[in-house]
Symmetry: C2
Subunit: 370 residues, 2 copies
Amino acid sequence: MSNNHIKPENSTGKSMAKQVKIKDIAEMAGVSAGTVDRILHNRGNVSAASREAVEKALSETGYRYNIHTSAVSLKKGYKLVIAIPTAVKGEYWGTVQNGIEHALEEYSDITIECEYAFYNQFDIYSCRNSFDSIMERKPSAVIIGATFVSETVLLCTKLDKYGIPYAFVDAVIEGTDPVVTYSSDQNACGKTVGRLLDLFTPENAGIAVFGSRRIGNERANNSMVRMSGLMEYFSTCGKKREIKESKISVADPDESEKDIIRFLGENPEVKGIAVLNSRGYIIADILSGHGIQDMNIISFDLTVNNVRCVRSGSISAVICQRPEQQGFHAVKAIIRTLLYNIKEKNVHHFMPMDIIIKENLNQYREIYSE
Amino acid sequence: MSNNHIKPENSTGKSMAKQVKIKDIAEMAGVSAGTVDRILHNRGNVSAASREAVEKALSETGYRYNIHTSAVSLKKGYKLVIAIPTAVKGEYWGTVQNGIEHALEEYSDITIECEYAFYNQFDIYSCRNSFDSIMERKPSAVIIGATFVSETVLLCTKLDKYGIPYAFVDAVIEGTDPVVTYSSDQNACGKTVGRLLDLFTPENAGIAVFGSRRIGNERANNSMVRMSGLMEYFSTCGKKREIKESKISVADPDESEKDIIRFLGENPEVKGIAVLNSRGYIIADILSGHGIQDMNIISFDLTVNNVRCVRSGSISAVICQRPEQQGFHAVKAIIRTLLYNIKEKNVHHFMPMDIIIKENLNQYREIYSE
DNA sequence: TCCGGCCTTGTGTACGTCCACAAAAGTAGG
DNA sequence: CCTACTTTTGTGGACGTACACAAGGCCGGA
């Protein structure tokens, strides 16, 4: 009972990497621990000779400092600013936020202050307001859920100027220099949707694709990339499918309903619909309301409404890009950067595209909620 | 609509929790820090009165001790024994091992020694040998990948006796008391396979199911549970499908090949095959070798061979249960138990069943390899 | 040469916990 | 009431790092 632990010193033959301490490095380089510390933290005021000697010792020993003792003596806290579209519980950005908070819990023994700078993803002025406030908040690091291209580039330029690290979730914006990004390959998503639609829809039936209405021409538009992936799938799959395109309006539900019903009246051969955003449930509910049962809908994101529709069968499949994991890992990566002051090598992480159908829905719910 | 987004903690959007220290608890309870420490670590020699006062203070403040300072001053190390089937890189248990090692890296600042006790999952004697050696190794905790029921129960009884915590990955054995388990709902897996097979196989074609040959009648047999799930799917899906059953032998490849070709000769209507273990690639390769192209194979696990077949199209879909995550989380949970000496509430974790097809294969590869 | 100022380096304390050991309180027997 | 012993409690050093501050070295100008 009392001997179910081992003593660190007396390893029973197993070799254990011995921890190299700052003092060891200092001794090797012929300087004091303080100098090593200054180099490790880029605090400046170090001669070229000392720096060289210490860096040699560091790389020879493969020194990695002890995160625990580091955290113990760390005086300064960090301030994390999260600039993402308004997070609604049970929807996409709400799930991202879950992941963010989950990660912060893991670091609850370090002083990390976290501020949200939400913006309306359909309103460029709201985004500008929000992003303008970020520098005033004096962040140590920023997590960005980008929608508008030039606003984001502007923000990143400022952050770069002050050496403030930032990470992207959901979408990656060109012309920026993030520490790390978590996103999905939207083109591959489109292909996957194509494949699923193809599987679920009878061979002789038609297919329709619903995207969002474009808002401004500056938006980083995941839907459009998904669309081209979907088209690629159908142009290479060997089968001949007729593909109709349409849009749904987010703003006006009554309008949408009329549009959809009219569209289906005009295209009775359509038996499969791809909805390239998270609003598949809207179409599913409209069709249910009109007693239409034999439509196969594929949509995106495991939101509460989509979950309901997958369970009831009014949506055939949903593709999900692990928003929670995106938030979680982005925060962890950015905190690691703050602590260790090193950039990771592989900055772009692509999340898997989970395929969720009625049969495997339950296990995903457990993962994505909580 | 406007204000149902998540407010983190307080109105200013900041989240910071103040650390309650052992000294604070000691002061509140009118004892010294040493006494609090003894209670926290069940070191005994504490009067009932002190214990009561301290526990009151602990629960009032919601005290949670600082993992970093704890780790800094922790003298003892831990020894983790991993009792799983022999891990081969790129196969199921190899991926579990990846996850285990990944988790150990996260705790590289704590002294954790890790020993593997591999066994041959097809040989009950090998399992006995391996499990018999475990107590001698004086583990602080054990991670078990169980195959044989009574051997596992025996091991767990011994572990329980000495109060050594253990966790299950992949399968859960009845009559044991693990700290935590990571596994999949095999019945739901079976249903999902059924659904996929149904989608991929033309409506008028027949379907076959290949399980493993049973080895001994004591084995925890995932295949059998998957089989019943699959049957459930087809008995409730409304369609009429003819389902044939067969087995594949792991031992003798030539024998398997003959069996399969004979089977398909006798059942030419079969155009879809579910392989309820990870050996879908064997069948896929045999069929490819015989020039058979129009078979839809669904199998399990993202092994290197299955990945190759999904990419080439000879396997239509694979279901994967995140072996890496299972290993990863099991280790993290067990280490948390060792550190905090508390049991988690929800011991059974079910992993999602990822559906992998050609179109979404690449992103999963990145996740599961690395 | 001396002085002030800047650049560089070394030193010492604090962080919160663990744990060994010392001290104190309690108990029992004579 | 004293001694011997057990149970309970308090105390201080150690862990490895961060950072403030003091101290030393170097340089140019007077």
